[in-house]
Amino acid sequence: MLSDKAKASIKKLTAKYPKPESALMSALMIAQKENNNYLDRALAAETAKIVGVPEAHVYGVLTYYSMYNIKNIGKYHIQIDTNIPATLAGARKIADFVSEELEIEAGRTTKDGMFTLTEVECLASCGTCPVIQVNDVYYENMTIEKTKALLASLKKGVMPKPEVPEYLGGTECNVLLKNRRVKDSTSIEVYKKNGGYKALEKALKMEPQAIAAEVKDSAIRGRGGAGFPAGVKWGFLAKGTGKPVYLICNADEGEPGTFKDRQIMEYDPHLLIEGMVISARALGAKLGFIYIRGEFDWIADILDKAVDEAKADGKMNDLDIIVHRGAGAYVCGEETALIESIEGKRGEPRIKPPFPAVSGLYGCPTIVNNVETLASVPFIIEKGAAEFKKYGYENNTGFKLFGISGNVNKPGVYEYPMGVSFKKLLEAAGGPKGKLKAVIVGGLSVPILKANELEGLNMDYDSCIKHGTGLGSGGIMVINDEFSIPELAYRAIKFYAHESCGRCAPCRYGSDSIKELLKTLLDGEGTKKDIETILHICNNVKGVTVCPTGEAFTVPIKAMVEKFRNEFEALVK
């Protein structure tokens, strides 16, 4: 039975959104949180009734997102990131250690009901890996010693306050990371003191079309990973439909190797808010959403607080922002899946066309932009498009956040102009640890580059394509020769198979089949034909999936197999 407090919170949520079903995901979290972190059928049914959706629908939602538990779970849910950046930083050892200490395998709960151990996907802590999430709290930069201490504390029933990790990143452009090291940077007073909200002041005196024109002129390309010019996307917005226009900030940050948006939201939330208010003015949106991945619970709180501060300070007279928490699904980073998720459904992508700019959230014209894109708007408006274009070069303009992780000495997020040489970035990150073997430069979903392929590589959209890879989200993962590529490939495809939404056959079967074939090879039972089959799947699944997730796994796996063929053939029995 839901407590009265929970019922009241849920009812309040259903009134906050334009449609009550949108409250479903948060309502289920509320119910779960007060029931020892899991949802049984009765609670799900009760929540379904208040929100007004069928029970079957609720079950579909519960079994789609990883953060809902429909079975009893331990008091402390130990979630260890073992995705690629974490593996490169030594997460495997941590995971094995915890498994030994607790005497359970991943996926199981200790007999006394205290601990459940799960290996999870990228938590966007790539620069501070290994990372363990216990319930809602991140513990970063974990070592065996620190893990021992953490477990000891938890066994006593105390969740220790996490150590704030040292920030190793840097900035040459000093725009998006301007306030990163400033004390109390999340406060509106500090933000204003450092020059914040001046851009908004200017924008409020501009016509919406003038704002849009400036953004278009800046030629800023979407910073989420697709690199589509934001100003052009804004231009597709359907006009005169009589329907409300929505602006959605994509803060799902799920691409492995990517932890840049987090820096903005966690340390400079007002920069994002200011960017959204200005953009909303350009688009005619009165309601905005920040769709933030569910694992970033404390960052969502920071955003909520910042929104309240901004409202109280009169900065949001024409825009309301709802901070909407996800519940664990990489595919919700795809804009139409994200929209489905806000509508209270399983976050599965829609067939395009129609595009969100024509028919998006609730069938209304909607623009979805990445955090970094929106956070760049204040600079573009305050200083002008011409100033923005001084960074980078034609079609690859502006400043960019690059997240560098893996086998480097100073992993962190670095802000440099578009087109910066890879060499320079690697130096800024303290150079490689160990012997450099390969790098994946654009988040996981781009072709891997061998050490001898890095010569002359510049970090921008067009240069990366010329170099046979992609800039993607700019998440750079450096790999040294301690790591086997087939093992990394297996871990990578495990990620995609886990995240595949299941909507279309080529992706859900393709990702799983590649996973099974790689496992067979790694177990020593594979044949040469299996390697050919993996490539055959990559070639034939690419381009025929409903959303780009198909490309996201076929492209990197193919590149790994082709470029490191000898390592795969060595596994053949």
Binding site: R41, A44, A45, P54, E55, A56, H57, V58, Y59, G60, T63, Y64, I70, A329, R346, I351, P353, A497, H498, E499, S500, C501, G502, R503, C504, A505, P506, R508, Y509, G510, S511, D512, S513, E516, L517, T520, K529, T533, H536, I537, N539, N540, V541, K542, G543, V544, T545, V546
Partner: protein, 595 residues
């Protein structure tokens, strides 16, 4: 949209409506594009990816089922890449599919079999990895085998968007996705109303009816049992298509002949009790209309609709006619009236019905359906099961002679036979209600305004100088439309205390029973109309068109029941209703009482 566009598919120039997708445009022009999850009656999901085609200027292949045609498009439907992709996807689907074909009810009628055969999918490079999930046996009407599910989403589209029942959902993520019910409790423990539309649309054997073929054979082959059979009107227009004859042709004569050759001891016809229902329900309607009873009266012969009403509109229970369905009326009469007339001990009678319907399997098993003192209907076979039995017995259906049903409860009028089409019950009822009110027949028995398969509510007002008042009626086919009309009625009553309608016909299945959940596969909505038309043609050709003219109906009142709505008629031919939980479909309490 009337705007036309020109495009080229495989070098062939075609013209088509701008609103069409590539699949629709190709079909119109006799060009074949392979598909699997696509169904012309449903919104395309894009799930399988088999229909991918190449479009000039597009970087990647596009799904023909979801892509609208554009002026000047140049499309290629086949290439090495496209063929390789299609074969690979099918190979991957087969890798986790329980390819148990010889023992599967969909064997020979399976879209997956067809497409794999078509593309010669014979390579095996994907490791087999079966799901090994339990079969859902919880419903008496529908069986669900998740090991054969290809997650095409058709069943959810039907259940949620057309029927608005929402019993099914995708569960899990990625490779693990299957279709299931809330908390995997099973269809028997869900709001499923047993309409069976999911089984009609399912491309594989994942969703089928719960088979009673073996039970019926056991009864027929048991020399101590006297097996009596009845058949719904919609069955007789759905057999021709299964035996190489013209789709929609009514073949009642051959149907009776087949039943006798299968070994049934007595062959009655549900159409007899359809006529009887009109007398009972017509009398009920008039009584309510003239004594301030609850209006609108709503028909009660569709058990999918009844369970839907009990689950989602329990507060409208008093509006539902207390009449049982023709199936249940006949079942009761077989073990009382027929037993008396024939001298057969009812405890040795096995009462079987052949229905276009899966919900009838649930209706027969309702605990209260035992007014005869025994189970009124013991077993229900769908049309599909009946066809299987005919084939099993090696009967050459096409060349059977025309036989007659046993006339005691086998003779019927044209009004009865149109029950199987949406609007048919209403038309039959109006034909007799008019007579009961005016003592005359309508100028013409045909009320064409009520005919035709549309995805909407049909409304009509029957006016005539002899009528004491104009009769306002509505017809809803498919539960989505049922929901619409009921919300309207509720709103009208809430606002003014009454509704504009006197009588509403509701059928759970789009098209009415001719489109029932137990009917042969491969029937698009447009085909349902063809079967319905077969019934109207039969009606045209019958000597008697009005239920109140059926002499065997007059006889049963004279010799047994007394008169419509008599005490005995109420005991045997009327029923009562319940409220059901929207969580598990189980009875919560009674909403009306049997007197």
């Amino acid at each position: 949209m009337d705007k036309k566009v020109s495009l080229v598919i495989d070098g062939k120039k075609i013209e088509t409506c701008a609103c069409n997708t590539i699949v629709e445009a190709a079909k119109e022009n006799g060009i074949y594009i392979p598909t699997l999850c696509y169904h012309p009656d449903l919104k395309p999901s894009g799930s399988c990816g088999i229909c991918v085609v190449d479009i000039q200027g597009h970087r990647q292949p596009e799904r023909a089922c979801t892509t609208r045609v554009l002026e000047g498009m140049e499309i290629t439907t086949n290439s090495k890449r496209l063929r390789d992709t299609r074969k690979l996807v099918l190979e991957m689907i087969l890798a986790d599919h329980d390819t148990d074909c010889p023992a599967c009810l969909a064997n020979g009628k399976c879209d997956l079999q067809d497409i794999c055969d078509n593309l010669s999918v014979t390579t095996r490079s994907i490791p087999k990895k079966l799901k090994k999930l339990p079969i859902d046996d919880t419903s008496c009407a529908i069986q669900r085998d998740p090991n054969k599910c290809i997650a095409c989403g058709r069943c959810i589209e039907v259940c949620s968007n057309i029927q608005t029942v929402n019993a099914l959902t995708e569960v899990g993520r990625g490779h693990k996705v299957v279709i299931s019910t809330a908390f995997d409790e099973g269809m028997g423990n869900s709001p499923c109303v047993n309409c069976g539309q999911c089984t009609v649309f399912c491309p594989t054997g994942a969703l089928t009816e719960k088979s009673e073929i073996d039970l019926v054979w056991d009864a027929i082959l048991d020399p101590t049992k006297h097996v009596v059979v009845q058949e719904a009107p919609a069955v007789r227009v759905a057999l021709a298509e299964e035996f190489g004859m013209e789709k929609g042709l009514a073949t009642p004569g051959k149907m009776y002949a087949a039943l006798r050759r299968l070994g049934f001891d007595k062959v009655f016809d549900t159409n007899f009790t359809a006529d009887l229902t009109i007398m009972e329900e017509g009398t009920e309607l008039l009584s309510r209309a003239t004594t301030g009873g609850t209006l609108p009266l709503i028909t009660s012969c569709s058990p999918g609709w009844i369970k839907f009403a009990e689950t989602f509109f329990p507060d409208l229970a008093k509006h539902v006619s207390t009449c049982k369905s023709p199936q249940q009326m006949l079942g009761t009469l077989i073990k009382t009236y027929y037993a008396k007339e024939s001298g057969v001990d009812p405890k040795n009678i096995v009462s079987v019905s052949i229905m276009p319907c899966t919900a009838k399997k649930f209706e027969a098993r309702r605990p209260e359906m035992n007014d005869s003192g025994y189970r009124d209907v013991d077993y229900v076979l769908t049309t599909r099961e009946f066809v299987r039995m005919i084939k099993e017995a090696g009967i050459d259906f096409k060349n059977l002679p025309e036989e007659k049903a046993d006339s005691l409860m086998g003779d019927y009028t044209g009004a009865a036979t149109i029950f199987g089409a949406t609007g048919g019950v209403m038309e039959a009822a109006v034909r007799s209600a008019f007579f009961l009110l005016t003592n005359e027949n309508l100028p013409s028995p045909e009320l064409k305004v009520l005919r035709g398969v549309t995805n909407d509510i049909v409304e009509a007002t029957v006016e005539h100088p002899k009528l004491p008042f104009p009769i306002r009626v509505a017809v809803a086919n498919g539960l989505g439309n049922a929901r619409k009309i009921l919300e309207k009625v509720k709103a009208q009553i809430a606002e003014t205390g009454k509704s504009e309608y006197h009588f509403i016909e509701i059928m759970a299945c789009p098209g009415g029973c001719v489109g029932g959940g137990g009917q042969p596969f491969g029937c698009e909505f447009v085909d349902r109309g063809i079967r319905g038309q077969g019934l109207y043609t039969e009606d045209d050709n019958r000597p008697l068109r009005y239920s109140h003219d059926n002499p065997m109906v007059a006889k049963i009142y004279k010799d047994f029941l007394g008169k419509p709505n008599s005490e005995l008629a109420h005991k045997l031919l009327h029923t009562h209703y319940f409220e059901r939980s929207q969580t598990d479909g189980k009875v919560v309490k009674e909403t009306t009482h049997k007197h």
